[in-house]
């Protein structure tokens, strides 16, 4: 059964204890906020996720979206749930108060996103895409466009999309063909065919605001000739109501493996009226400014699924009676022991848990940096936060989504054959998790971004934003009485990461294919060490607070035990990646294409 209770205690740990929410509250924009307010927000979000979104997860998957004559209907219950979600103000959470937003920090937003991803990934995509479009428009739109569109996107009456992909180009956007022809009134006529557009057409909102990448007639070839346009489904009237239908139609929706309640649309633009967002031919750059936040959000989809898979697996493991404990029957009163007595089941459950809590901690760190980027007035602090998020974005996106899929599969394993059967709902996690490894830049492309762009950025300055705190922590804590052994395990992983980094820097400089050949393993190594750092820091806090913890003692003890499990059972996987990385490209480039 899909069961979920938002892990509020752990969320509060990440928000207040590990990353100290007061740091954000002390900055401009934080005057009205308090830790208690953040907690109330999380609690209410938990209620909506558990009581409104979760019950629609399996039914939405079963029913899918419906397409007829250009019209898309979302599954039963989605419209009512969206109305409730919007009326209660959740679409406005992290938006600018100037446009009707609530101005809450990103770190709170990402925790709320985790809950909607865990309970209904497909649902969460609709407001999620709107938020992405909001960010792009906020940073690059003209004042006039912002005034016309942002308030409606913030309050959720209008939704947003990101229209990049075309049939012949996904990763390689330089091949893009959609055209935009300037008109005397300053608008553009946009024509072309886009595919795979999430939320491209649906019945949840009265209007849809498409952000479309297209080429102007005289644009240079390749990525330097791409501009960004805002193309609404209905052209707003002067009063701001949805007016005449614009020239964009949905010609089909895709039938797919997972997130079946999310409409993935083919859109045809035919002389559709649009307006330029940002500078001509700088469309990709405009898209990329909101990429850090969006890619972290996609990473959080993996985290949400991991948590959902964990909770469902634990519930089953306590209930399913098979076999006897190897140490002698634990429940002689029953026909057999619950499977949670078996070491292999515990290994599986703890693996999921250690990944989920580690990812939550790391997501909190990166989200806090997103907040510092926006709120810090000191340029040096802003620069540090920017470097750090840029570096960590590909790591979080690829690592978390890989983990989401792996842990969904582990969760199914706990269910045995019953997990493969629809009724239990856990095979949906496997199907839903898979897409996050593909969209927003495939995980392979994330790894290339890490080794090709982020490592060398600013002559290694970005990299040091991660390396320095880890090195300082290890130096300070390696002989700590409580957590010394955990820190020594981290030090070993960090050592491997330093060697791998030096190897890639040296070989990659001479031969880019060498860097490309090592990229995926390198990202994994980086990610496992980053999670290890989060676990060591979590353990430090837990060990310090345990003696006086009273009612929270159980929480901190579990933290310490899980930290130990991570260091002993998961982090060693990182050491094995070093020889793979160092082996270079030779083995994979040896074959002739014809030999494949």
């Amino acid at each position: 059964m899909q069961t979920y209770k938002a892990p509020l205690r752990d969320m509060r740990f990440v928000l207040h204890e590990l990353h100290d929410s007061r740091r954000i509250l002390a900055l401009p924009g934080g005057e009205e906020l308090s830790p208690e307010l953040m907690d109330s927000v999380l609690e209410e979000a938990a209620k909506i996720s558990e009581e409104v979104l979760l019950p629609l997860n399996a039914s939405g998957d079963e029913e899918g979206c419906h397409y007829e004559n250009g019209v898309v209907r979302t599954p039963k219950g989605f419209k009512a749930a969206y109305d409730l979600f919007r009326d209660a103000g959740w679409t406005s959470l992290a938006c600018d108060p100037a446009y009707g937003g609530q101005g809450l920090p990103e770190i709170v937003n990402k925790l709320v996103e985790e809950m909607s991803c865990a309970t209904n990934l497909a649902f969460g995509l609709y407001p999620g895409l709107t938020h992405g479009a909001y960010l792009a428009l906020r940073d690059h739109g003209s004042e006039e466009l912002k005034a016309r569109f942002l308030p409606k996107m913030v309050d959720g009456t209008w939704s947003g999309t990101m229209c990049l992909t075309e049939a012949h180009c996904g990763t390689d956007l330089g091949q893009l063909r959609t055209r935009a022809v300037p008109q005397p009134d300053g608008s553009y006529r946009v024509s072309g065919a886009k595919i795979f557009i999430s939320a491209g057409e649906h019945d949840l909102t009265e209007n849809i605001v498409h952000l479309v990448l297209a080429r102007m007639p005289d644009a240079p070839a390749g990525v330097r000739g791409i501009s960004l346009f805002l193309v609404p489904k209905f052209l707003p009237t002067t009063e701001g109501a949805p007016g005449a239908r614009n020239g964009v139609v949905c010609t089909a929706i895709e039938h797919k493996m997972g997130i079946r309640a999310s409409a993935t649309c083919q859109l045809t633009f035919e002389d559709a009226t649009g307006w330029l967002v940002g500078a001509p031919n700088k469309g990709l750059a405009a898209m990329f400014t909101m990429m850090n936040s969006e890619r972290l959000s996609v990473g959080i989809q993996g985290l949400g699924i991991a948590e959902a898979a964990y909770q469902s697996a634990v519930a089953y493991a306590k209930e399913r009676l098979q076999g006897r404990s190897l140490a002698g029957a634990k429940r002689p009163d029953l026909a057999a022991d619950p499977i949670i007595v078996h070491p292999d089941i515990r290994r599986t459950l703890l693996t999921i848990r250690a990944y989920a809590e580690g990812c939550r901690a790391l997501a909190g760190w990166v989200a806090q940096a997103l907040d510092l980027m926006e709120r810090e007035s000191d340029p040096a602090a802003r620069e540090a936060a920017e470097d750090f998020t840029a570096l960590m974005t590909p790591v979080v996106k690829a690592l978390f989504t890989d983990i989401g899929f792996e842990t969904a599969s582990l969760g199914m394993q706990v269910y045995g054959g019953h997990g493969y059967i629809r009724d239990h709902g856990v095979e949906q996690f496997v199907r839903d998790a898979r897409i996050a490894m593909l969209y927003e830049g495939t995980n392979g492309v994330q790894a290339l971004d890490l080794v090709g762009r982020k490592l060398p950025a600013h002559a290694g300055r970005s990299l040091r934003r991660f390396f320095h705190p880890v090195a300082a922590f290890i130096e300070a804590k390696k002989d700590d009485a409580a957590i010394g052994p955990l820190v020594q395990a981290l030090a070993k992983g960090f050592g491997a990461l330093q060697l791998a980094t030096a190897h890639i820097a040296e070989r990659g400089q001479r031969d880019a294919e060498e860097a490309g050949a090592a990229a995926t393993e390198y990202l994994r190594l980086f990610g496992l060490v980053a999670l290890g750092f989060m676990w060591a820091r979590s353990a430090e806090i837990a060990a310090a607070k345990l003696p006086a913890a009273n009612g929270d003692a159980g929480f901190y003890r579990t933290k310490l035990a899980t930290a130990r499990f991570y260091m002993e059972r998961i982090l060693p996987n990182a050491f094995a990646l070093l020889p793979a990385i160092k082996s270079g490209k030779a083995a994979m480039m040896a074959l002739d294409e014809a030999d494949f």
Partner: protein
């Protein structure tokens, strides 16, 4: 008209309650606490009466430890206007609660007090009735519908045989049953606004009430585990067992 709504902080309804090892009560340390669900219904009803223009102000009251302030915040986020916290670490039994509420009612002079019919922690089902007796006000308990017209309130009550409607003159006491309404989800803007609404903190001493328990708690134990069932082969065997083993017929 002013409405007073007492709200109690209780162990969340989702939590599997555990008895403390020493039998002194149930474990609350580190346990998720929430507003008593019947009180949520009371707050919802009060806010609806305000939205309809029948009431002018909704005051939420909680009694107990400082953390009860968070329960008041929940009521404020649902739409209550301000809060009163009577802070005490003492164990509060229904009679003490009723006396404290009487003192607050005498200060605030509400036209109506809406309470949950019982709290899900001890299921006492007593505070509303005691408060009505102490104030000398009419009471409509187990309400599934309320309608205010002028100086009277019609309360439809859920009783064993079905429904009963009583007409009370205001000021009055109403206690809520499950079917009165479905409480709303607090909206995000209201959660934010709730932080700015005032909460006044008082003490039992300031209200002139001695909250000391009048009942002594002997011990708290888990209910006995259910015995395994038995399958019977025939009706005759069942009847025989009911007579000789269960001794119920």
């Amino acid at each position: 008209m002013k409405l007073l709504v007492p709200v109690k902080r209780v162990v969340d309804y989702n939590v599997k309650v555990r008895v403390r090892a020493d039998g002194s009560g149930v474990e609350t340390a580190g346990v998720k606490m929430s507003m008593n669900p019947f009180d949520e219904i009371a707050v919802e009803e009060a806010v609806r009466l305000k939205e309809k223009g029948v009431a002018s102000e909704v005051v939420a009251v909680s009694l107990g430890v400082a953390a009860c302030g968070e329960t008041i915040r929940t009521a404020l986020a649902m739409g209550a206007d301000r809060g009163i916290l009577v802070e005490t670490d003492a164990e509060l039994q229904p009679l003490a609660v009723a006396k404290l509420l009487r003192a607050i009612a005498e200060r605030e002079k509400p036209g109506l007090i809406i309470l949950g019919k019982q709290a899900i922690d001890d299921d006492m089902n007593a505070t509303g009735q005691m408060l009505a007796a102490l104030l000398g006000w009419p009471q409509g308990t187990f309400a599934s519908k309320v309608e205010i017209a002028g100086e009277t309130i019609a309360v439809t009550r859920e009783i064993d045989g079905g429904l009963e409607t009583v007409s009370l003159s205001l000021p009055a006491i109403v206690t809520t049953d499950l079917r009165l309404n479905e409480p709303r989800y607090a909206s995000l803007p209201n959660i934010m606004k709730a932080r700015k609404k005032p909460i006044e903190t008082l003490t039992p001493a300031a209200l002139g009430v001695d909250p000391a328990p009048r009942l002594a708690l002997v011990t708290v134990v888990e209910p006995a585990k259910r015995q395994a069932g038995k399958k019977v082969g025939s009706v005759a065997e069942l009847v025989a067992k009911l007579k000789t083993e269960a001794k119920v017929i």
